[in-house]
């Protein structure tokens, strides 16, 4: 219960802080709409020559774009800001102040910062998804919707654990922000059905940088492409990574020596 209250406090502080920079809302809105426009224009060019891409119909690819924007928004809203702050505070020793607080440090660093304007991407992603689903008509049943939500959650846990592992590396190496940039650069490959890619690239995008589990798998669930194997695999991977990253975090924490110590 106290954790929930803590979450609420951090959220309120973030919102209050950002209210001083309200123009940022319009800047972010402009950038998000531009990105969406780019994606749709790109699809328009491609689908003027064909009516299916690797077995995905235009509206299904649109749904994939919606998931891509939604998940990108979730990462930018909740995961990336906290992890970036963690890396920074390991370097400059500010983590001291987090560690002396009477709450679990991992929870603390995970919720200490949010980027509220990224909510725009979450809303926009949901809107695109809604439009795509409406155009797909009655093809989406209750089971598929449930599988979609489950896979979205599993993907979020996988991405969170992945980022935690990368950010924890900062206990050993000073400059890891660069590795995070690699993730952002690879994430764009998730805008297309991963089944298009050759095996080696699919492997990289699934197990080295888990873009596939974050974007493609939920979209597969929604469009009725998900096999039971992938579903169980994603859940199992989420559990393993979550526990693994927790252990890795605890090992890393033991290495932390602070600044003034």
């Amino acid at each position: 219960m106290s954790y929930l209250r803590m979450l609420g406090v951090f959220l309120r502080v973030s919102i209050m802080g950002e209210m001083a920079y309200r123009v940022n809302f319009f800047v972010q809105l402009f950038q998000s709409l531009l990105e969406l426009g780019t994606a749709i224009a790109g699809l328009a060019v491609i689908f003027s020559y064909t009516d299916s891409l690797g077995g995905w119909r235009p509206d299904e690819v649109l749904a994939l774009v919606g998931v891509y924007i939604l998940v990108g928004g979730m990462i930018g809203f909740a995961i990336q800001p906290g992890m970036s702050l963690l890396i920074e505070s390991v370097r400059d020793g500010m983590l001291d102040f987090t560690l002396v607080k009477p709450v679990d440090a991992q929870v603390m660093i995970s919720v200490q910062q949010v980027e509220i304007w990224k909510l725009i991407d979450i809303v926009l992603g949901l809107a695109v998804l809604g439009v795509a689903l409406a155009r797909l008509g009655e093809h989406v049943g209750g089971g598929q919707a449930a599988a979609f939500v489950a896979m979205l959650l599993a993907g979020a846990v996988i991405i969170y654990s992945f980022w935690l592992v990368l950010a924890t590396l900062s206990f050993w190496f000073v400059r890891v922000e660069n590795i995070l940039e690699i993730f952002n650069s690879m994430y764009q490959a998730g805008r297309w059905p991963i089944s298009l890619y050759p095996g080696w690239l699919r492997f990289i995008l699934s197990f080295i940088v888990p873009v596939a589990f974050a974007v493609t798998v939920p979209a597969e669930a929604l469009t009725g492409r998900l096999t039971a194997g992938t579903l169980l695999g994603a859940v199992a991977l989420a559990v393993v990574l979550f526990v693994g990253s927790r252990l890795f975090w605890l090992i890393g924490l033991r290495r932390y020596s602070g600044t003034s110590a």
Binding site: F30, I46, T50, I179, S185, Q188, A189, L196
Partner: protein, 267 residues
């Protein structure tokens, strides 16, 4: 003039040393530069295969050739000045550059060229790797290979000058990321990065001919693929030269106006 040559030489040395220091950021740029054309290569190859082997005059193998060459051309002409300038002005590091007796653009060009010299061998290696995977088809005429040398050089100049002019926007606004993003969207479509320009509607092709973007990337790529006639090549080189001249004068105007309103913090 020999002073300028000395400056370039010294900048080469400095950049070389700092590049070797920051290898990680080099690798990150390169992943982005490889992944994007690779994704479009795969997407268009898929489209081409699914509709019977050719789309808009490009066969599957020619798409592979197009995007592998595009990857190299994009890398050669690429500049990062638009990201750096805002920092320079915000933090006031531009002040030091202003004290030097030469125009700061020389240091930027030297910096760009020397980092390319370091990364190009690796890019060629990657292009070779992709070529064995995707079997690209290229058929440049002998004169096209000759013309590609000035075409690439001019493409680099056009892109560098345009982006240097746009980077000066940081003198007037602190929200340059929005400006940059608009530019990159235009570049993505009108330079041929997302698809060969001949695949776009006629109106967009006409617009692309009159805007600078095609001349930065698409034109040298089509030339190296052997898709342009001699006349088209000469017209293209002429268009590039015109854009270099236009940008040169634009740069003078924008730079003079920008420096006048520049006030460094703590000055």
């Amino acid at each position: 003039m020999s002073d300028l040559a000395a400056l370039y030489l010294q900048q080469f040395k400095t950049t070389f040393a700092s590049m070797l220091q920051y290898r990680a950021s080099l690798v990150i740029w390169m992943i982005g530069h490889v992944l994007e054309p690779l994704v479009y290569l795969i997407v268009w190859s898929t489209v081409s295969v699914s509709v019977g082997g050719a789309v808009g005059g490009y066969s599957t193998q020619q798409f592979a050739g197009y995007f592998i060459v595009l990857m190299l051309v994009n890398h050669v002409t690429f500049a990062w000045i638009m990201w750096e300038y805002e920092y320079r002005i915000r933090e006031g590091t531009l002040s030091a550059a202003l004290l030097k007796p030469v125009h700061p653009i020389h240091a930027d060009i030297a910096d760009n060229v020397s980092s390319k010299l370091i990364t190009l061998p690796l890019m060629l290696l990657i292009a070779g790797g992709l070529a064995t995977l995707f079997h690209p088809q290229l058929a440049p005429q002998w004169w096209a290979m000759v013309a590609a040398v000035p075409a690439l050089f001019l493409a680099f100049l056009v892109r560098f000058l345009v982006e240097w002019c746009l980077a000066q926007a940081a003198f007037w606004t602190t929200r340059v990321t929005a400006v940059n993003q608009v530019y990159f969207v235009l570049l993505l479509f009108l330079s041929g990065q997302i698809a060969p320009l001949t695949l776009f509607p006629h109106a967009i092709q006409v617009a692309a001919a009159f805007l600078p973007f095609r001349w930065m990337i698409g034109f040298p790529v089509e030339l190296l693929l052997g898709r342009l006639s001699l006349t088209e090549t000469l017209v293209g080189l002429g268009a590039q030269a015109v854009w270099v001249v236009v940008c040169y004068f634009l740069l003078k105007v924008v730079w003079n106006a920008g420096v006048r309103i520049y006030t460094a913090v703590g000055a």
